[in-house]
Assembly symmetry: C2
Homo-oligomer: 546 residues x 2
Amino acid sequence: MASSTPSSSSTSSNAGADPNTTNLRPTTYDTWCGVAHGCTRKLGLKICGFLQRTNSLEEKSRLVSAFKERQSSKNLISCENSDRDARFRRTETDFSNLFARDLLPAKNGEEQTVQFLLEVVDILLNYVRKTFDRSTKVLDFHHPHQLLEGMEGFNLELSDHPESLEQILVDCRDTLKYGVRTGHPRFFNQLSSGLDIIGLAGEWLTSTANTNMFTYEIAPVFVLMEQITLKKMREMIGWSSKDGDGIFSPGGAISNMYGIMAARYKYFPEVKTKGMAAVPKLVLFTSEHSHYSIKKAGAALGFGTDNVILIKCNERGKIIPADLEAKILEAKQKGYVPLYVNATAGTTVYGAFDPIQEIADICEKYNLWLHVDGILQGCNQMCAGYLFQPDKQYDVSYDTGDKAIQCGRHVDIFKFWLMWKAKGTVGFENQINKCLELAEYLYTKIKNREEFQMVFDGEPEHTNVCFWYIPQSLRGVPDSPERQEKLHRVAPKIKALMMESGTTMVGYQPQGDKANFFRMVISNPGATQSDIDFLIEEIERLGQDL
Amino acid sequence: MASSTPSSSSTSSNAGADPNTTNLRPTTYDTWCGVAHGCTRKLGLKICGFLQRTNSLEEKSRLVSAFKERQSSKNLISCENSDRDARFRRTETDFSNLFARDLLPAKNGEEQTVQFLLEVVDILLNYVRKTFDRSTKVLDFHHPHQLLEGMEGFNLELSDHPESLEQILVDCRDTLKYGVRTGHPRFFNQLSSGLDIIGLAGEWLTSTANTNMFTYEIAPVFVLMEQITLKKMREMIGWSSKDGDGIFSPGGAISNMYGIMAARYKYFPEVKTKGMAAVPKLVLFTSEHSHYSIKKAGAALGFGTDNVILIKCNERGKIIPADLEAKILEAKQKGYVPLYVNATAGTTVYGAFDPIQEIADICEKYNLWLHVDGILQGCNQMCAGYLFQPDKQYDVSYDTGDKAIQCGRHVDIFKFWLMWKAKGTVGFENQINKCLELAEYLYTKIKNREEFQMVFDGEPEHTNVCFWYIPQSLRGVPDSPERQEKLHRVAPKIKALMMESGTTMVGYQPQGDKANFFRMVISNPGATQSDIDFLIEEIERLGQDL
């Protein structure tokens, strides 16, 4: 999960309940932070894999006869007989005279289809292998114009006529070749890094099942998996299994948008039919360190970005509660209606946790909706969006389609469900713990070195470590606007050199009046201490002469 | 493309231009409908597959040495040597004592990873094979409580402890077993049907590349593919390559939402900062047959559903221009500001094309934004969302992240790009033509039979065919409220029986005051005349005694 919004998510099954549900707060917050911090319960991995093979017996006999039937009518040269399903093997196939139209559903297209897909899988397995191989580059950088001109025959243009499957396979290889290996142990550029093999298998299956979440009718298993997974997640933050409802959304930004919609509908349900013109001028509050999706949602939903008020943060990037209260009072005095506060559990840049208890007290005092934008690491690109949506047109409780602003909805759940099955809760905990340990390792390694300067003091709260690299020429130079200006240019230069050399990738950005700094965020399960060492050495190597 | 929004999408590069761009309209509309109807240009498939193998030479020598290096350090038992990349083969592996933690990035995890993924691929290939096999069922229906109780050991619950990879593989098989085969040639339940093998390969690659569209930095190839594909699509509707801009969005509903946001920003840019409270009361117009996403967007964006005004349609489901004009005038008289008209090129139920020329004339007359919600068949679940987005914070033209309301954005482009490469434009045209021919076949087959009654007269305009099945007991019975009531219950009953028997699937719904009818929509490239025959026979078989 790159981002999830637990606090706004669930509305109590009691429709009249206070949305801030103060009685749940202590448990919720503690447990949530516990999860986000990787949980301190270090349970051993007690293996209790329970093998269920019996379920295949009935299916088996059905398939065996179906298979025999097929064997007599078709010549499956790539398909070894087995007692269960067919097993496929690669044969040498000439794809230069085969085209998409020769694949299924074409008559007798099965053999070509199997061979084509096996060839694709070979390309993918080679890519996976190289991704985890530290002797390969993270990327082989080219400028847009270079790729557009066509790299050694890799032509992105589309034509009226079909290409052979041979060419399609070459295109697949080239697409991967000129891309970025986000699963490489030295790719640290984004929170979404690392390639989880179980997640990958889950995605391959999801795209093969090729269905859509809108009704139970066409996605029975996935709809139930989503329900069970969300229930489990709610239980982890201390809510009973009957509290709350939710769906997965395409990402954290849409989840945050849902959070604001839920708040608006709770306090002003008439907005749904009459629009924003029919209600008082509403204002939203969020920290100056929060994700920009809150502002975007404010613009899209018709609040206006001027009415998304930024709260000051302390030096660790946490909301200052007194500033929140002052700004709520100020807005009220001006005749605005304060509606909603977004608190963040793990900010984008610093990885800071806002003081949620104190913020919740303020929300309760002034009757505001409290939303928590939480970031759980270790489950890349899976985002939980819980919502209480105004549009429910029918009451078929397993048809989730109408809960989303979308009509069709991609099956995001299976990958995550399968990873949870395969790792167990303890597996996720271990994965997060490892990331936290690496963040601490990095911090300890650089905090006292003259080549580095930390952006804020103290141990990292999350897996973010923010620091400047100080090149020789700036070491010992007292702070001044001129020095700041020079320092501001260091990280971009190092990053550009890093992209050219393709050895590792890390993000940088300014924050407020702070010059550009590196934000190292560790979520890649493939990373080890040696990769952290490598990153630091690479920064020094590339930056020493700046 | 399930849905795309060409007309609203592009804003002329001349910022002051009329958004309705009347001079482009004739070309746009004709070409668009030409595409949507499958194009009448029946170009032969002139094969010009151009094999580009030279690009592998440099890479080759690099890889050979890298490979030799690896060979000496690792024992890749499943990996045959080759002059290029490794080739993988299955070995018998006992997964009962292997767990997710034994896979990459685990030390020496490569062999297990390859074997596990090959095993998954075997499951998927068996599924693909069965999907196209008409002797298999479309689905094996179970009620939610049955699946929740656990079918023959298929347990959806998540536990704290990891399951073995053996169990994970069983779960994968079961997930597919209890799902719906949306690629089955007799699955007609949704517009999104059919399993495209090239698209499938594209999705497998996309999930392996596992990146995100937000910047060129981490998705160089995909960002350029998206740009090239959208340019090509704009050219098809007659816009010069410099006109317009766009991104792919997670679906048609979000695309429609973007269309409304673009209109609002064009006419009232201050909404972005000041909100809907700062502008006059705006109204939107859409047909009573249009997709419900327009109303949803109206609610979400702060217009309110009361301000989404429905225009009457004729018996074929097309907007009546006179009613549109009357309602615009009525809104103006009441002091509202008419902002936007949504026209549909291929409505959800009837497949109707609104009279876009006449609607455009009205929009021009009253200075309204015209959006066309177009539906292109044959490219399942790929949705083009063009937009002119108010939020552009930086001007790095290949960083598409800030054009979307999302932060991260899934790579939707590769599948579509690869399909286009593999089929060529002519391949898509042929695919659409085939669907249109099948719709005509179905219409011709049932239009004069007493067991069936068409919902509207005349040949289908698109691939939608809407009809009632009239059971024996209702044949020859004159129309009456009582007959209507009985007829209303026929389609749901047949559908329920169909789900139980699992032989085929088709959707039904009421429309306005019309009793429930079947909406057959043909987009499955695997379907043939025999499948249409089968569907009709199935409906008769299941419905005869009702």
